[in-house]
Subunit: 208 residues, 2 copies
Amino acid sequence: MQKSRTSKFITIEGTEGVGKTTAVRIIQDYLTEHHQEFVSTREPGGTAIAEQIRTILLTPHDEKIIPTTELLLMFASRAQHVANVIVPALQANKWVISDRFVDASYAYQGGGRRIDLSKIALLDQWTVGDAQPDLTILLDASPEIGLARAKNRGPHDRIEQEKIDFFERVRAVYLKRAEQFPERFRVVDATQSLESIEQEIKSCLDKM
Amino acid sequence: MQKSRTSKFITIEGTEGVGKTTAVRIIQDYLTEHHQEFVSTREPGGTAIAEQIRTILLTPHDEKIIPTTELLLMFASRAQHVANVIVPALQANKWVISDRFVDASYAYQGGGRRIDLSKIALLDQWTVGDAQPDLTILLDASPEIGLARAKNRGPHDRIEQEKIDFFERVRAVYLKRAEQFPERFRVVDATQSLESIEQEIKSCLDKM
C-alpha cells in the first residue's frame, strides 16, 4: 500500500476494561467534527468472515483451543480485515479506526500465551505487510483496575476468563512495543479522568 | 511424539472424485478384520472446533476468502486436529486414518492457490511437527475424470467450484510430493477397477 495516501489508520489497544470503546467514540466525534470520512472497525472481526472467526475465538468451548490455533485464527481474521476493509477504505481516502489490531497479537498470543514473538512477526509480515497503523493509542492501566471495570459489562468471553498474570504479561508486551515504536505509539494513562483522556487523544489527532 | 509407538497414521489424499471415501472404507474394513482399534477422521475438520473452521472454509460466501486466510484457517483446523485427536489416538495405540491431511495444503494452497511452499512448510513444522503420517495413499486421476464423478454427488463446495487448471496444479504438487517422499507415499491409479484399487491398498497395509 502506498504511503502517499492522506487518510490515516488509527488503532486503539489495551487490556480489558481500559476504555477502548470510549476512546473510539472520542476519535469518531473528532473526525465527524472535522468532516473527515472514516470507517470504524474492530478485531478480531471487521468483515463477515472475520466475525465468524471471532465467534470461534471468543466463545467458551468444551474443546480446548490450543495457542497455535488461536494465533492462526487471529491472523486469518486479520488477513480478511486488512484486504477487504482496511486497505480499500484507506485507498478511498477514508480514515480507519480499529478497536485492536496486530499489536494485540504480540501482546495476547505472544505475551499472554507465550508464543515466540518471531512467529508473530512473520505472520504480521504475511498478512499486514505495510498496512501498519499510523497512530496506535495504548490505553494503559493495571489489569486489576481494568478487569474490575470489565466485570460490570456481563459474562467474560473465553480470553477474558484468563487469570491476572496472563493480563500482566499482555500489558508488559504492549508497553514494550510502545517503547520499540515511539513514533507510532501514544501511551495514555487510562486511570485519568475522562476529560484528561479526551484531551490527550484530541491533541494526538491535532498533530496529524 | 515418539516414533516408538506401534500404531500407524495413514492419510488418504487426492483431488475431488478420486474415491477417497472408498479407500477409507477399505482401510477401516481391513483394520476391523485384523482387530486393530482405529480412529477415522478427516480434514479440514476432525474436532468440534476444526469442523466450525471447515464450515467457514467450504461454504460459498459473498465475501472473497483471500489465499492467506484459507491457508491460515486450514492450519488452524489442523493444529486442533493434531493436538486433540491424532496424537492422543496414536498414543493410546489406536491407528488413525485421515481423509486428507497436510499434503493437501501443499497441493491446494501451494499448487492451487500458488502460495509459496516455504510458508506452508513453516506452518507444517509449527502445527504437525513430527506427527507426520506413516503412509499416505495418493489416489491419482486426471481432474476431468474426478470432477465428472464428483458432480454426481450434489452441489460443489467453495473449493470444488474452482476451474480445471486449479486442480491440475493441485495434482502436480501431489505427484511431486509423492516423488519427494517415496518411503511414505503410495500412488494408486484411481482409474483402475475397484478390485485392483482394493488389492493395492491391502498390499500396502500387509507390509505395515
